[in-house]
């Protein structure tokens, strides 16, 4: 069974079909790229998969379970975690606290435990902090755990978003332009990080503007233009596709 299956996905923003009859499927353990010029509908597709938008028509399946129309928090509980193109961090709290919030779906503390702190509260908190530190180590932010999120550099903020997403133990990770604003060194270590994430058994859907970056790490790529799928295949196949070349060159990207 496919990890994610998108069927005839369409969304209509009062006349503008930002995504139009889009279908593709992602296998378990794959790094799948979604590319296209600015305004092609990549983020909108992300939003429909993660639950920010409800599609006008079409279906989304996560491991065979229908999820379109769910709220984001429900999809997070089901195993989808995401990052945002325009970074959405919890700015005024520490890095560690950001990661603890990221674990929300996987922790069990309810209102009673929250108010009265029974022994099981301490057990769970201790584990959560340990796990948070492991994740920070994994993405390379270990030294920063006590600094405030907004004090991080741009590249570090992008890493923190990934770390926070990983904190919910996702089966499917959606990354929206994670390399945006990064310098070449940062991009290289990001590519390495994405590969290591996949090695943990997490399927990755990657939206990216930087062609070189996507070509290097994805197995398959879907190309969008004006909300429509214009190509789907391996990086080599897609790169050789005249329609894709036209779409990118035609818009001066």
């Amino acid at each position: 069974m496919a990890m994610l299956e998108v069927e005839n996905l369409t969304i209509d923003f009062s006349g503008l079909k930002a995504v139009d009859d889009l279908s593709f499927s992602i296998e378990k353990g794959e790094i799948f790229g979604l590319i296209g010029p600015n305004g092609a509908g990549k983020t909108t597709t992300f939003n429909m998969i993660s639950g920010t938008f409800k599609p006008t028509s079409g279906k989304v399946f996560l491991e065979g379970r229908r999820i379109d129309g769910n709220y984001m928090y429900q999809n997070n509980q089901l195993g989808i975690a995401r990052t945002y193109q325009n970074i959405n961090l919890f700015k005024n709290i520490t890095i560690l606290e950001n990661i603890l919030i990221g674990q929300h779906s996987r922790l069990s503390c309810g209102l009673f435990s929250a108010l009265f702190h029974p022994p099981k509260y301490y057990k769970e908190e201790k584990k959560a902090v340990e796990k948070a530190r492991n994740i920070l180590e994994f993405v390379g932010l270990k030294q920063k755990e006590d600094s405030i999120a907004s004090a991080l550099s741009y590249g570090e903020q992008r890493l923190l978003e990934i770390a926070r997403a990983l904190a919910s133990d996702p089966t499917l990770l959606l990354l929206d332009e994670p390399a945006a604003g990064m310098n070449p060194t940062e991009k290289e270590s990001l590519a390495n990080l994405v590969t290591r994430i996949r090695e943990r058994g997490i399927t990755v859907l990657l939206v990216e503007h930087d062609m070189k970056f996507v070509m290097g790490i994805t197995e398959r790529i879907c190309v969008l233009n004006y909300g429509k799928r214009i190509a789907l295949g391996t990086p080599a196949e897609v790169q050789a596709n005249p329609e894709v070349i036209e779409a990118y060159l035609g818009r001066g990207d």
């Binding site: 959405n88 919890f90 005024n92 919030i101 004090a151 919910s168």
Partner: protein
């Protein structure tokens, strides 16, 4: 030196402060300070009660980022709720039910406020700042009208007197003559509610609230059910304010709709912003300072709202962290001067 961890220092200083505060009425009673000034007892009880209310508002505003200009509505529910459940000639007594002891009715009134808070949160959870302000103002008005328009039960605008004093295990916690003991009751409620608040904000649930304050979209993406957590926040916040309202009613011994007007909601917000939101001591500091101003400048009563408005505006513009924030700023500056390396405080 594991015992002197930062956490323990905090706990220790909280206990010391609480002990000192608890000594104040005792010293007054023994004529060491303020010489048994009866009015001063009322004042410190009021500070305690407003501290509870403001701390409750802080859970909603400071931690969850949801504004309310209608919390006097919950204060009203707590006050009338407890009075109507415990009065010998109003409320349930009129229905032939025997009145409850006030210490029980106070808790039930808090719970009623919590339930109504949860109900208000259902429409409120869909609204942001401006519309939420309007909704909560409307809620405040509705509570007032409700109380005023059922004179058979509540005596309408005339108000209710003869509110029962509190007795627990045969000890009088409030008498007509002195509020000396009542302060300890208020202090007890305040201490318990502050501990619960502190527990809450250091838990998964509290972090869910903070996530909503920080970034609603990201909170949702992290698995926080926005509606559910806003309902929780409103309910807990309303519980605190309801308890405060009930304690107020049993201390003053008289309530009428006038006490719970819109201005009272604005005073709660002023206290919170003045003291500093999103922390433990801020609401208490704010309640203290504003209560003193309020009672100390009775002559300026007509200009009070004007003064609060100006203070609020200045605070929002220049000191959004309130006076608690002043303390923090100063201590972090001192630490920097002392050369202590503070992680990486790049900004």
């Amino acid at each position: 030196m594991k015992f002197i961890s930062q956490k323990n220092i905090k706990k220790l200083s909280a206990a010391v402060i609480l002990g000192l505060v608890a000594l104040v009425p005792f010293m007054m009673e023994k004529n060491i300070i303020f010489r048994q000034n009866k009015y001063f007892y009322v004042l410190i009880c009021l500070i305690g009660i407003y501290s509870i209310a403001t701390s409750g508002l802080d859970i909603l505003f400071g931690y969850t980022g949801q504004i309310s200009f209608g919390h006097a509505g919950f204060f009203c529910i707590g006050a009338y709720g407890s009075v109507l459940l415990s009065h010998k000639s109003w409320g349930i007594a009129l229905l032939g039910v025997s009145p409850l002891p006030p210490i029980v009715s106070i808790l039930i009134a808090g719970l009623i406020a919590a339930v109504i808070g949860a109900l208000l949160a259902v429409p409120a959870s869909k609204l942001v700042f401006h519309f939420l302000s309007l909704l909560t103002i409307a809620f405040n008005q509705i509570m007032l009208l409700f109380v005023a328009n059922f004179p058979q039960l509540t005596n309408g605008y005339v108000g209710i007197t003869g509110i029962p004093m509190i007795q627990i295990f045969g000890i009088d916690f409030s008498t007509r003559k002195s509020k000396f003991m009542y302060f300890y009751l208020v202090l007890f409620f305040l201490a318990v509610l502050l501990i619960l608040k502190q527990n809450l904000v250091h838990s998964r649930v509290g972090r869910g609230l903070i996530a909503i304050r920080e970034n609603t979209m990201a909170a949702n993406g992290c698995g926080v059910n926005l509606k559910k957590y806003k309902i929780i926040s409103f309910a807990i916040s309303a519980f605190y304010v309801g308890i405060a309202g009930a304690l107020y009613a049993h201390m003053i011994g008289f309530i009428s709709p006038d006490t719970f007007v819109q201005n009272t909601s604005v005073i709660f917000i002023t206290m919170l912003l003045f003291g500093g939101s999103g922390n433990l001591v801020g609401p208490v500091l704010g309640a203290m300072v504003i209560t003193f101003i309020q009672e100390g400048f009775q002559a300026l009563a007509n200009y009070r709202m004007l003064i609060y408005g100006t203070v609020l505006l200045l605070l929002i513009l220049y000191q959004p962290t309130g006076i608690a924030g002043f303390g923090k700023n100063i201590s972090s500056r001192l630490r920097k001067l002392g050369g202590a390396h503070n992680g990486d405080a790049r900004s």
